[in-house]
Amino acid sequence: LAKTTQPISMDSYEGQEVNITCSHNNIATNDYITWYQQFPSQGPRFIIQGYKTKVTNEVASLFIPADRKSSTLSLPRVSLSDTAVYYCLVGEEGGGNKLTFGTGTQLKVEL
């Protein structure tokens, strides 16, 4: 199980791009990188997943360098409603059922 390290907190302002980097030095060949978002008193919500290079969807982009030892979640033009905890998870496809959450990154967006 690859250990992940991400900043405990980040602050931003509305309209800015936010990049949250996650380190996963021990990532295995079969591991995928997945990001979840959690608002206060709500369940985690899937944002994006990738294996290598770049993935983009309507919510975010995920950048993964060639060595895959880190990944960066990019949120374009954040708003107040993006204030949440963001979790980086690393694990193997079919390797197990459970999701293992760390402490995540608390993103606070202000006006």
Partner: protein, 116 residues
Amino acid sequence: EPEVTQTPSHQVTQMGQEVILRCVPISNHLYFYWYRQILGQKVEFLVSFYNNEISEKSEIFDDQFSVERPDGSNFTLKIRSTKLEDSAMYFCASSERSGGRSETQYFGPGTRLLVL
């Protein structure tokens, strides 16, 4: 968009009482999960369930806990004799295919359980 639903949203109980938390997973999903989050702490895995059997459970999921899919739609978590430390937010989740970590799990809004 289909979603996982949970009832009740809040539950207050006395220590030693039994509680049943209910979940309705997304209809075509085959894998079901319970997680919990104590206030201010991490989301913790409790149990996964597939084909009417427990697939995996954590150390937290001891004999006081049980899960059941009593019909084609509901998925329940029972705590037989609640303890103060069971106070937490309980999340149900479901996924469509294999429960591998790359498979998206959809979470419900949670049930906040308070044990007095």
